[in-house]
């Protein structure tokens, strides 16, 4: 016997492998989905920032173009239109930039802008979230001070504020962190790094997304594992059922072979045991006959021979008596208990199912659903099995369309009765009186013991097995057994 843990180990390992594979697949798909979503959002951020940077250049160009002495007013109105523009500075002629603290830096940036012929970014305050963009022009140069935190309004920002995500603008070692999340190590990291194409503000837009173990779809993975477990348990139990069924069939076949072997042995033993006395009887009787025919007859010797012959006849009778005692079931009637006839029939039908399928016969069961009788369960099943096999054998000899097998269950007085009727060729009238005799058979190769044994078993259980009158064609047998007392 294999221990259950050993027997289920392959199934367990299979389940583990399948679950792991499915979990890995689900996880990889989820990670892929997260990466794509992150990259799409990061591209949106990049686009938004690019647009803002271009806007800064456009504002400066417009200021330069429309510059007039009274434009100071317009410059002061800009911050109210663009919240991110903190201040606008203007410098004309030889005058210095009106912000004393930054006048040198601004002058350098203006010079660079003039050399390059385009706006020039000043990033020294990047760490504080401030950016200057300077455009050298005639008659006046302008500088915009940009507040980076308000660069992109929260409504337009694609990432949630609490997302595990870090976004920053970087340039020349300085950086401004737009969103500070995702500092933790471990998990999976998605990166995005793309330079703004605006030449005055060539920042690296760096985004990083960290996916922690907690973000994996554990519930879906567990559901997958559970689904596999259920499928495998189903398959395993199906397999177990099939094995159990096959074992039952094998056992049955073995039992039949075993019985045949035992019968063969019995017959051989009986033949030998009986042959010896028969040989002696025949020899003595023939010797006596010859002696009596002698002239004159040898009476004394003949008498001796006859005496020896009768002794041997007695010996043969003893052999038979001994054999009968050995074969007899000690007390089949004592082991009876209440058995549901219907359930017993069902169990035997299950056993002969392959044969039913082969012959394409579907038995019709009529009568009461439950009839409890007093019987020895194994003996009862043996009787039913024999009756069904006989019926099926008979049905095998008629065309498929004419095959009918009906089983009737009825409680009749103090007896429960099972009737097995088939539409086979039936029992010849000449054989009807002899079918319960041992060694009587109408079947080629049959032993002629089945019905004889069944009748013995039925009688031992205070029941009876009879050939029932069958209205139509075929044969019908009726087994009656005492009803069980109500519980």
């Amino acid at each position: 016997m294999i221990r259950p843990s050993r027997r289920f180990l392959p199934w367990l390992l299979g389940w583990l492998a399948l679950s792991l594979a499915s979990a890995a697949w689900i996880g990889a798909a989820e990670l892929d989905r997260l990466r794509q979503s992150f990259e799409a959002d990061a591209r949106i951020v990049h686009r938004l920032l690019s647009l803002r940077a271009v806007e800064h250049e456009a504002i400066l160009a417009t200021l330069a173009l429309l510059d007039a002495p009274d434009s100071v007013d317009a410059a002061q109105r800009l911050p109210s239109i663009y919240p991110r523009i903190v201040s606008v500075l203007r410098r004309q002629g030889e005058a210095a930039w009106p912000d004393p603290a930054r006048s040198v830096e601004l002058a350098e940036a203006e010079a660079a802008s003039r050399r390059a012929g385009r706006a020039w970014g000043l990033v020294s305050e990047l760490a504080h979230g401030r950016l200057w963009v300077v455009l050298a022009a005639e008659p006046a140069s302008h500088a915009l001070q940009i507040d980076l935190p308000s660069l992109v309004p929260a409504a337009e920002w694609p990432f949630a504020a609490d997302a595990p995500l870090r976004v920053e603008l970087a340039h020349g070692g300085r950086r401004w962190i737009i969103q500070p999340g995702a500092s933790a190590d471990g998990g999976w990291r998605f990166g995005f790094d793309k330079v703004l194409t605006v030449r005055s503000q060539p920042f690296d837009v760096v985004a990083e997304r960290r996916v922690g173990a907690g973000e994996l779809p554990w519930l879906r993975m567990a559901a997958g594992a559970l689904a596999f477990a259920m499928v495998l348990v189903g398959a395993a139990s199906l397999r177990q059922q099939r094995i159990a069924r096959r074992r039952a069939e094998d056992l049955l076949r073995l039992g039949q072979v075993g019985r045949l072997n035992a019968l063969g042995e019995l017959a051989a033993g009986m033949a030998h045991e009986l042959n010896q006395p028969l040989t002696a009887i025949l020899a003595n009787a023939r010797a006596a006959d010859r002696m009596l025919r002698d002239e004159p007859p040898e009476l004394d010797d003949a008498r001796l021979a006859m005496k020896a012959a009768s002794e041997q006849a007695r010996r043969a009778a003893d052999v038979l008596a001994r054999m009968r005692r050995a074969v007899e079931r000690p007390d089949a009637g004592a082991a009876t208990r209440a058995v549901d006839l219907r359930a017993a029939v069902g169990a035997v039908l299950h056993l002969v199912e392959p044969e039913l399928r082969r012959l394409r016969v579907s038995p019709r069961i009529e009568g009461q659903t439950a009839v409890a009788v007093m019987a020895e369960p194994v003996a009862l099943e043996q009787i039913v099995h024999n009756l069904l096999l006989n019926a099926l054998h008979a049905l095998g000899r008629v065309p498929e369309a004419e095959r009918r097998l009906s089983l009737g269950l009825v409680a009749d007085g103090d007896h429960g009765r099972l009737t097995v009727a088939d539409s086979g060729p039936g029992i010849p009238a000449a054989a009807r009186g002899r079918i319960f005799e041992p060694f009587f058979t109408t079947r080629e190769g049959g032993l002629g013991l089945g019905l004889s044994l069944c009748e013995t078993l039925a009688t031992a259980m205070d029941g009876a097995l009879e050939l029932a009158p069958n209205g139509g064609r075929g044969a019908a047998f009726s087994l009656s057994l005492p009803l069980a007392p109500p519980p």
């Binding site: 042959n275 002696a280 025949l282 020899a283 010797a287 010859r290 020896a308 041997q312």
Partner: protein, 211 residues
């Protein structure tokens, strides 16, 4: 055992079952054959006289040594008595094995009395005849051994049908000498006529000069 007793045939019956032994012995006795019964095959193998005439009846199924094993032992010893096997359950295979091992007959129990007695009488007759033939052969062989080299040459030519003159010519002898040899070999072989000489000794001459 004296020669007389040896010449009277005895049936040896080997069966472990006393009743069967008794019944069969009584039956065989009714036709006047002497029967000696043996309960154990081992006792039979050590006790019986292989030079006696008669026949052996063996049961196939016996405890200890089976009938087939006894048959093999008998044949290995060169016992020439015919063996009749008896069995309760005679399969074709068993029958085949018995005949292959040299059994003369194979009968099933319970055995029909006429069949058994006929078989036994026939077997005994055949055995007696074969013993007699063997005895004659042995005598002829002994007499043939007494011949001289020259007498055997002369006998060979006589058996081939040559006359005295032709023998003399063939052997380069005088007809008179051939005449003497011929008279001597007739005397040594105790042959009364040319026909008897040829019948008894032609085979020995053909077998070779050295017996």
């Amino acid at each position: 055992m004296n020669e007389d007793c040896r010449l009277s045939p005895v049936i040896h019956l080997v069966d472990d079952d006393e009743a069967v032994r008794g019944g069969l012995a009584m039956l065989i006795g009714t036709v006047g054959l002497r029967v000696q019964t043996w309960a154990r095959p081992e006792d039979f193998l050590t006790g019986f006289d292989p030079d006696g005439v008669g026949a052996l009846v063996l049961d196939v199924r016996m405890p200890g040594t089976s009938g087939l094993a006894v048959l093999d032992a008998l044949k290995a010893r060169g016992v020439d008595q015919p063996v009749i096997m008896l069995t309760g359950h005679g399969t074709v295979e068993l029958c085949r094995r018995a005949f292959k091992a040299g059994a003369a007959e194979f009968l099933e129990k319970p055995v029909d009395d006429d069949l058994l007695l006929d078989t036994l009488q026939k077997a005994v007759r055949q055995h007696v005849r074969s013993r007699e033939r063997n005895r004659a052969d042995r005598l002829a062989r002994e007499r043939f051994a007494q011949l001289s080299e020259r007498e055997r040459e002369v006998l060979g030519l006589i058996v081939e049908g040559l006359t005295n003159k032709e023998v003399a010519r063939a052997l380069g002898l005088s007809p008179r000498t051939v005449e003497t040899h011929r008279a001597n070999l007739f005397a040594k072989l105790e042959a009364g006529s040319l026909a008897q000489l040829i019948r008894q000794f032609a085979e020995l001459v053909e077998d070779g000069d050295a017996p």
